[in-house]
């Protein structure tokens, strides 16, 4: 990996400073719906929800990409599968039918989310098992190609809308909560985001996480101490795919719509952009990156429909001239974050 790879020094900021920073971030995210209401911008709540959902997807991708060194260009596939799991279960529920002849539908979030995670994990297992037989540039091409294959699969799936996608009339239900309410849904997403980041934080610091980081740095060394990389990489890839599936399931609920667009290869690219904008291989980086990209998109589309002509050069400059993305920048400015290249 190049020199902008993952820094793993003890953070320059003392642990206490980091804890305070995290608390402030948590407080700000919890207070956000009330603040935007107070300043008369309630439309910002859905925007923040989108940031959170993408943050889950990007953070999951980051486990494979940043911590495991697996440059997957196909994570939109798992994102989309998560979305379709929700969509198909809802449609089956609405039609009072059986999916594949034996699976009853449901509109309960407590069932649809685990189902989405499971199905995405299953696909990640199959795609990962095949793709991880290669590495480097082949791995990038192959993950992209498999995602494209699933994209075409859903395009041809006329029973579930094909090209046009399908609408989900109501968001999934959770207890007696009114999930239609934007603030309620925001808090559901916030809780899940916190959970995902907590889990990823534990994984990265665990024995498994150490092995994964070791594999990223030097596979030959890992073999010499008796560790065969394949299983660990596959496990990380599957966990990563499950996280993306969860994000997709939430996105399907948020939009009340799924379409093959969720699996489009540019979506994989966007997820990677979020990761690199935030800082590859940093824990909170993906949240920053997701925020940066979603906000950038919202602001720029306000100016011009050709907003990508602004995004392109920005991305190019970030890749060529910054080390460690936004969180690297923050760290260098002494504002916390983990990385200090």
């Amino acid at each position: 990996m190049s020199d902008n790879a993952i820094p793993r020094t003890r953070a320059a900021t003392p642990a206490l400073g980091r804890a305070i920073g995290l608390l402030l971030l948590a407080a700000a995210l919890i207070a956000l719906p009330f603040i935007v209401k107070a300043i008369g911008q309630p439309a910002l709540v859905p925007l923040a929800t989108r940031v959170l959902i993408y943050a889950i997807a990007a953070a999951s991708l980051n486990l494979a990409l940043g911590f495991g060194g697996m440059v997957s260009f196909g994570h939109a596939a798992f994102f989309g599968i998560g979305g379709y799991a929700v969509g198909i279960l809802y449609r089956t529920f609405a039609d009072d039918a059986l999916f594949l002849g034996f699976i009853p539908g449901t509109d309960q979030l407590l069932i649809t989310l685990p189902a989405a995670i499971l199905v995405a994990g299953l696909f990640a297992c199959i795609i990962g098992a095949l793709s991880l037989r290669t590495s480097g540039v082949q791995f990038i091409m192959i993950t992209l190609a498999f995602a494209q294959m699933l994209f075409f699969f859903f395009v041809s799936l006329k029973a579930y809308g094909g090209d046009d996608g399908m609408t989900i009339r109501r968001r999934n239900a959770l207890f007696d909560l009114n999930t239609r309410d934007d603030v309620t849904f925001y808090f559901i997403c916030l809780a899940l985001t916190a959970l995902v980041f907590l889990v990823l934080w534990r994984i990265v610091g665990s024995r498994f996480g150490m092995v994964l980081a070791g594999i990223r740095q030097n596979e030959r060394r890992m073999a010499a101490i008796g560790i065969a990389p394949y299983r660990y990489k596959l496990a990380a890839f599957v966990i990563s795919g499950m996280g993306a599936g969860l994000a997709g399931a939430l996105m399907a609920n948020y939009l009340r719509f799924v379409s093959p667009d969720m699996l489009h290869w540019t979506k994989s690219g966007e997820l990677m952009i979020m990761v690199i904008l935030g800082g590859v291989g940093t824990l909170l980086g993906p949240l920053l990156g997701a925020g940066a990209l979603v906000i950038l998109e919202t602001v720029l589309t306000g100016w011009t429909e050709h907003w990508q002509i602004v995004l392109g050069p920005i991305l190019l400059l970030v890749v060529l001239f910054t080390q460690g993305g936004l969180s690297g920048l923050l760290a260098r400015l002494g504002l916390g974050g983990r990385s200090a290249p």
Binding site: N4, L65, V137, I140, I142, M149, S156, G162, G312, L316
Partner: protein
């Protein structure tokens, strides 16, 4: 029978187009170690430039020249300005930087030419069809594409295996320092190789113009198929790119042509068509998965 032959020719023609792209992609990767997503953009540049010149001047030759020159020049500028900085970087940086280039290219072309696809007519000299066999007539233009592709393949083979430049190219991939020690400006060599790859992509793009619609996004569609070709053939190998391209071209074309028909034997027409089209689109990716299971390094891995 004639239908099968016709589809085989279609497959060959598509395969040859894929080869033009795959050759450049695999050469650039094999020698510079760079994965260039914007390779498809050069294909688009070739198509648009040629269509533009044709519309302005009405001359086929100028259109050809314009498409080739635009692709090669933009390709070399791209190498000088961006790609050169990426040789020492990891693949992730390369992917993202060239992804950024795609966004820039696509939006620039949209701004210049709009979202409506351009339609390009077949050059008058190549219009019409010839009778190849009794009952089998085939468009001259498509035959010309096949001929050009095969000629380019032959030319590349000779260039790589029989010339000093080819020797340097082969040596440059494995022994960078040695080539530099021989007094060769390796940076110039890289730019030249990149230019060649861009030229081939542009050639494929401008030839595709009259067959497909010239539109934004055409580059990415074919780029991903080119990846499949490169993976099946073996990364870094021109021979692999050639056979991989033909295999993918033939398989994809035959599946698209025959899959719905086969399915119609067992299910209703419209559903068979939809499912058949879907399965056909997935076919080459399944093929890739099978090849990966059997030979993870592709069918013709590069020796280096």
């Amino acid at each position: 029978m004639t239908l099968v032959l016709e589809q085989l020719l279609n497959g060959l023609q598509f395969g040859v187009m894929l080869f033009l792209l795959a050759a450049g992609l695999t050469l650039i990767f094999g020698i510079m170690g760079v994965i260039n997503l914007a390779h498809g953009s050069l294909y688009m540049v070739g198509a648009y430039a040629s269509a533009f010149v044709a519309a302005q001047t009405g001359s086929v030759w100028l259109a050809l020249l314009g498409g080739l020159a635009a692709a090669a020049i933009i390709g070399m500028v791209m190498e000088l300005v961006v790609l050169r900085r990426l040789y020492a970087r990891d693949h992730l940086d390369q992917v993202l930087a060239t992804f950024a280039l795609i966004l820039i290219f696509n939006q620039s072309v949209t701004l210049l030419f709009g979202r409506q696809p351009l339609f390009v007519s077949v050059p008058p000299a190549l219009n019409g069809s010839v009778q190849l066999l009794p009952g089998l007539t085939y468009p001259v233009y498509r035959l010309a594409i096949i001929a050009v592709g095969l000629l380019v393949a032959l030319g590349l083979y000779l260039l790589i295996n029989r010339t000093r430049i080819g020797m340097l190219v082969r040596a440059g991939a494995t022994h960078r320092e040695m080539v530099r020690a021989l007094g060769v400006d390796i940076r110039l060599l890289y730019t030249a190789v990149f230019g060649l790859g861009a030229l081939l992509a542009g050639l494929a793009g401008l030839m595709a113009g009259p067959i497909l619609a010239v539109q934004v996004g055409m580059g990415e569609q074919i780029l991903i198929m080119t990846f499949v070709v490169v993976v099946i053939g073996g990364v870094g190998s021109i021979r692999g790119a050639f056979f991989g391209a033909l295999i993918v071209g033939l398989v994809d074309t035959s599946l698209r042509a025959f899959m719905p028909g086969l399915l119609r034997q067992v299910m209703a027409g419209p559903e068979a068509d939809a499912l058949g089209a879907g399965l056909a689109s997935m076919g080459i990716y399944l093929l890739m998965a099978i090849v990966l299971l059997v030979r993870p390094k592709g069918l013709f891995p590069a020796h280096v």
